[in-house]
Symmetry: C2
Subunit: 417 residues, 2 copies
C-alpha cells in the first residue's frame, strides 16, 4: 500500500520513465488527450492492425482472391493463432483455437463436458457472472431437455456447491464487474475430486494476468479476443481443450471445418482428430487476422511483467481512491489484496455512478458503468501509464467535488444511448 499523501504526479512520471513496459505504448494507435481505462471492454488498436487489414484486403482478397485460403494461410489461422495465444494462458501447442465467438465456444465446450459426464445433471455457475455464459448454458439445458439444472453460487459459495452430482463447473476466472479473481487451481481440484469437469471463461484474464490452465489442470476454457488481447471490435474468441480430453470429447456444432476430411465432401459427418473437431465452419477472416496484431505485442514482453505493472496500477488507483474519493461516498468494490483481483478496479457510488462516468467521459477519461452503482476501470499495462491513474483520479475528484456530475445526470437522462 502506497502512502499516497506524499505522492506527486512528478513521482509517477518518473515511474513511467523507468517502466520497462513503457515503450510498448508506442505499439498502439491511441487518441490524443484521452485516458483510456476501458481496455477491459474493447482493447485499443495495435498500430500493426491497419497494415494487416490493408494487406489482407488489397493483396490477399482483391488480388490473390480464392487462392489466399492456402497461400495466405487463411485456413490455418484458427490453429496458428491458437498456438500463438497458448503461452498467455498456460496451454500447450494444439490445445487452443482462435475461432467463433465466446458464447458459441462456451456452447461447444459445455456440451462436450456434459457428454463426458452423461449420468450427472448439475452445472455450477456464478449467478452474478457476465450473463452471456449463463444464458448460453440455459439455452443449452433447455434445448437438451434432459433435466440438467444450473446451480448458481456466488464466489464464497462455489466450493460448497461442488458435490458428486455436478457434471461441470463453469466459471469466469475474473469477475467482469468487481474484478475478483477466483482460485482456478483450488476450484478445479475440488471439481476433479467430485468427478466434475472444470470449464474456465478467461474473458477478463487472458492478456491481463498470467493464467496457467495446464498448471491448474483445467479441462476446457474459452475467452475473448477483443478485451485485453486487443484483437479488434468483436474479434473472434478462443477455446481450449486439454490434450487428455481431445480424443474422447465431442461437440455438437459439427460444421465442415470439424470434419476429418473436409475437402472430400462426403455426405456423413466424421469428427476430425484431436482439437480440430472443435472448429465449426468458415471464419470471418478479416476480423480473425487482426487478432494477430494484438497477440504480437505480447511477444515483446511476458505475462509476469504485465502482472507486476497491473498490480501496481490497480493498487495505486485503489490507494488514491481511498484517499481522495472516499469522502464523497465512493467505495472500492474490488479486492484490496492484489493477488485476489484481475486488472480492473470497480468503484461503487450509490448516489450516481452513471452520471459520474458520463461526466468523466466528457473530460476524456474513459471508464464504464455497470448497474446499479459500479464505475469500472480497466488497466492495461501495455499502454496505461502511472500518470494516467493520477490524472483519472484527479478528474474524478474534481467532478465529485464540483458537483458537475449532477449536471451530467440531467444530460444522461436525455441521452438515448
Amino acid at each position: 500500500m502506497t502512502d499516497t499523501r506524499n505522492l506527486t504526479r512528478d513521482a509517477l512520471a518518473a515511474m513511467d520513465a523507468a517502466d520497462p513496459l513503457a515503450p510498448l505504448r508506442d505499439e498502439f494507435d491511441l487518441p490524443e488527450g484521452v485516458i483510456y481505462l476501458d481496455g477491459n471492454s474493447l482493447g485499443a488498436a495495435p498500430k500493426a492492425a491497419m497494415a494487416r487489414a490493408e494487406r489482407l484486403i488489397r493483396q490477399e482478397w482483391a488480388t490473390d482472391l480464392i487462392k489466399s485460403w492456402n497461400t495466405a494461410g487463411w485456413y490455418e489461422l484458427p490453429r496458428r493463432l491458437g498456438n500463438k495465444l497458448a503461452p498467455l494462458v498456460g496451454a500447450g501447442d494444439d490445445e487452443v483455437l482462435v475461432t467463433d465467438a465466446t458464447g458459441v465456444n462456451l456452447f461447444k465446450v459445455l456440451a462436450a463436458a456434459l457428454a463426458l459426464r452423461p449420468e450427472r445433471r448439475v452445472i455450477v455457475m456464478e449467478g452474478s457472472n457476465f450473463p452471456t455464459d449463463n444464458y448460453m448454458a440455459q439455452g443449452l439445458v433447455d434445448f437438451l431437455g434432459r433435466g440438467h439444472e444450473i446451480r448458481f453460487a456466488e464466489k464464497d459459495e462455489i466450493m460448497d456447491a461442488i458435490d458428486d452430482t455436478v457434471a461441470a463447473v463453469c466459471l469466469t476466472h475474473v469477475h467482469y464487474k468487481t474484478g475478483h479473481l477466483l482460485d482456478m487451481a483450488a476450484i478445479t481440484e475440488k471439481a476433479h475430486k467430485a468427478g466434475a469437469i472444470a470449464i474456465w471463461d478467461l474473458c477478463h484474464s487472458a492478456g491481463a494476468l498470467p493464467v496457467d490452465l495446464n498448471g491448474a489442470k483445467a479441462d476446457f476454457a474459452v475467452g475473448c479476443g477483443y478485451k485485453y488481447l486487443n484483437g479488434g471490435p468483436g474479434a473472434p474468441a478462443f477455446l481450449f481443450v486439454a490434450k487428455r480430453h481431445q480424443e474422447a470429447a465431442r461437440q455438437p456444432l459439427t460444421g465442415w471445418w470439424s470434419h476429418k476430411a473436409p475437402f472430400d465432401f462426403t455426405r456423413d459427418y466424421a469428427p476430425a482428430p484431436a482439437l480440430t473437431k472443435f472448429l465449426t465452419g468458415t471464419q470471418p477472416i478479416t476480423s480473425l487476422a487482426l487478432v494477430e496484431a494484438g497477440l504480437d505485442v505480447f511477444l515483446k514482453t511476458d505475462m509476469a511483467a504485465i502482472r507486476k505493472k497491473s498490480q501496481a496500477l490497480t493498487g495505486l488507483f485503489i490507494d488514491l481512491a481511498d484517499e481522495r474519493l472516499a469522502r464523497f461516498g465512493v467505495t472500492v468494490a474490488t479486492p484490496r489484496d492484489a493477488d485476489a483481483r484481475g486488472s480492473q478496479v470497480a468503484l461503487s457510488f450509490a448516489d450516481g455512478g452513471y452520471p459520474v462516468i458520463k461526466a468523466l467521459i466528457e473530460r476524456g477519461v474513459i471508464g464504464d458503468f455497470r448497474a446499479p452503482d459500479i464505475m469500472r476501470f480497466g488497466f492495461t499495462p501495455l499502454y496505461t501509464r502511472y500518470t494516467d491513474v493520477w490524472d483519472a483520479i484527479e478528474t474524478l475528484a474534481y467532478i465529485l467535488d464540483s458537483g458537475l456530475w449532477r449536471e451530467a445526470r440531467f444530460r444522461a437522462q436525455d441521452a438515448v444511448t
Copy 2:
C-alpha cells in the same frame, strides 16, 4: 441457344459495350489479366471495402474506441445490414439478420424448426449437398438424442420424400456443384401440405438470382455473405425467419444479444421479441461491416437485370463448351434450361478435371475443382464480361488441345495445397 459457330470475340465485345451492368465492374478491385470465375466461392473485393476498413480501424476503433458500439452503429449492424439484404432474397423488413456463420445459423433455424414440430422426427436433406449443412444437422440430431432421422433425397426424389412424418425440409436452393436450381415454391408448398417446415440455404443463390422467400412462403433461410454478395473472406452469414414464426420460434444459442434486456445483466435468460432472439453474441465487427460494401453495389441495379445477364453468360459458356470442348470428352453437368440453374456452370471431365483447372489457373483463368470430375465456373454479372466467357473457353480449348493439362497433372501431384 446461341449459334456459336458464327460468333466472334468482337461481337461479344460489342455486347459488353452495350451491357447496362458493365459500369458496375468498376465498383470492384480486380487483378489485372485475370478472368475470375470463382466468385461463387469467394466474391471479388468491392473498392469501397478498403475505405470502409480504414474508417473502421483508424476512426471507429482506434480513435472513438468503446463508444463506437453506439456512435458508429456497431451494435445495430446485424439488423441494419439484414434489412439492406432482405430485398435481394424476397424478405421483408425485420426478417433478416446478418450475423454469425452459415452453419451456426443453420443450427439455430433447424433447432427452431424441430421445436415447432415436436412430435415429428424426420428431416429431409439432399445427400449430395455441400456437406456442412448435413454435418451440422447430424451434429444437432446426435446432440439432441431424441431419435431424429435425416432422410436423404436427391433432387428428383425430394417431393416423394416429403410426408407427414417430416418435421423439416432443409435444402440448398442452388446445388453447389452442379448449379441445379430447386423449385423453392413447389417444394415449400409440398412441405406445408405435409405439415413440415421449409428451410432454405441460399449460399449459392443470394445475389446470384432473384429469390422470393416470402413469395414461396419459406419458413426459415440461411445464406452466405462471401460468395455472390462479395462481403469478404469468411464474411458473416445471414438468417431469415418469416414474420409468422417470430413470436413462437426459439433457438438454442441464447447469447446476450438475444436477450430481451441485454444491458440489464440479469441472471436468467428471457428471449428478445421477434427476430432479435435469433442473434447470439458479440459479432466480428470488422468482417461484418465490410459486408455492407458488397451489399451497396446491389443498390445500383436489380436482381432481374442480374438474372438476365447471368443466364446469358452461363448460356454462352454452355454453348461454347458444347461446340469447342465436347470433342475432348468434356460434358456439361449443369441444367441446359436457364431457368433450372443458378449462376454457375459445371463441366465434367473424367480424364482429369483437376489438372485442367490447375493449368487454367496458371494461365489466369480462375475456376475451381470439385471431386471427382467437376470443373466449376461461377459467373458474377456484376463484374464478369461476355468476352471473359470467350477467353475462358479459348484457354480451356487450348489446354485440352495441346495436352498441356497432362503436364499440369504432374505438377498437381507435387502440390501440397
